[in-house]
Symmetry: D2
Subunit: 140 residues, 4 copies
Amino acid sequence: MLRGRVVMIHVFQMLCPGCAMHGLPQAQRVTRLLVDAPLTVIGLHSVFEHHAAMTSLALGAFLAEYRYTFPVSIDAASADGDPRPRTMRAWALEGTPTTLLIDAHGRLRHRLFGVEEELALGVRLGRLLQEVEGAADAPR
Amino acid sequence: MLRGRVVMIHVFQMLCPGCAMHGLPQAQRVTRLLVDAPLTVIGLHSVFEHHAAMTSLALGAFLAEYRYTFPVSIDAASADGDPRPRTMRAWALEGTPTTLLIDAHGRLRHRLFGVEEELALGVRLGRLLQEVEGAADAPR
Amino acid sequence: MLRGRVVMIHVFQMLCPGCAMHGLPQAQRVTRLLVDAPLTVIGLHSVFEHHAAMTSLALGAFLAEYRYTFPVSIDAASADGDPRPRTMRAWALEGTPTTLLIDAHGRLRHRLFGVEEELALGVRLGRLLQEVEGAADAPR
Amino acid sequence: MLRGRVVMIHVFQMLCPGCAMHGLPQAQRVTRLLVDAPLTVIGLHSVFEHHAAMTSLALGAFLAEYRYTFPVSIDAASADGDPRPRTMRAWALEGTPTTLLIDAHGRLRHRLFGVEEELALGVRLGRLLQEVEGAADAPR
């Protein structure tokens, strides 16, 4: 259950240069910096091209080599032959990397296709965390 | 009056490499990113060495060349011959660059001597801004 | 025939972070900068781990996504079950990335395991190119 | 006497951002990397604006703070009121930073206004050094 926690989903492909060079290292920095905060970072491997190269076996090797520590789930293939996997299609994502920020009430609060500016991402995360923790501090 | 606004004070010397290379450009990025937020960024030129080189005339040339747009005040010299200027001494600052974050109630909430990690600074600013803006949104 | 040309061989694995983040982009910068010089840049994909993930099909997708323009050859598997491929083993390479510089007479002049400092690599390349071109200019 | 040595002159102003952020650190990297080569790196402080701020006293403080180890000379003021100092004017330099490369025979071989790409500068230096050292190796 992630209710009560801020969630950052990093949608990537292991062979996407913007993901490997910028997005995934940033997700790892967020994971490390905010280890004690009510935040969950999740990677989502949404393969929409080069399917035969980006298998789950290859993904496992990639994640091990780069030493990413956040959990990664695999977006399931569409049944009807659409090259886009199910979640990517359901959410109508434009491509990878995409960062999604979801607040503690489960509402999508930010979505960006491309690489996030580090300072701007920090401000967004700080605001969402303060919503959770400020509420905890408030008088009842 | 800064009550009701978050304040970030960047304490620097124009000839301090960590300030010129990292701290001041960061203060400018914060200024630009959060131009619409209840945040005021202020530079404080606290000269404690090479006084004859870092005059107000030299500071003016420096700020013009680097195109910094946030306001900068000059820490006044101590009367008793202490090389440290008054505010630096009153606040017992260790050196430059130092970043201070003050919340909307005027309380010092963060102080760091050295260069702030960009993501961490963003999270701190986001939290303090949310305290202000969350309060504005709260039911009365 | 590469006799008469300087050769830079970049030995890599597509899932090696130091290669993907630093070594291969550097090989591409060398390729672009020295396009008119008597220099040939060659990538050598020497897979010694995660063999099932780094297939030639996966390599093709990787090179296409990163838009590398220099030629890449694939180090052949050893016949006796050694995980190290043949060239890597024959040359006793320690790992990836490794950069090899070979002069216009076919002699190995530099070998470094790890990421080359950009300025230092430039100086080495300039010296080797001048050996070739200086000879061409010399009076007969 | 610099005859027989390659000379790199870095023309700068201490309050020029491109110089302080990029050009001077690069000159220091060249100095450190090629300490054993027949190369002399020289800084030239050519002040053409903010003269009252960039005094020799201020320059001394600046160089001490940044720990630059290469020698720096000061371009002399023009007698006729031209804000450009004498060498800058004699050489018709466009501004700062400017990098000049002079070969072992005293001929200007490269001149660039702006920041040099690190790899490209390395290649130029390597070629000029090889001209000197290749000549030393050549049969007589």
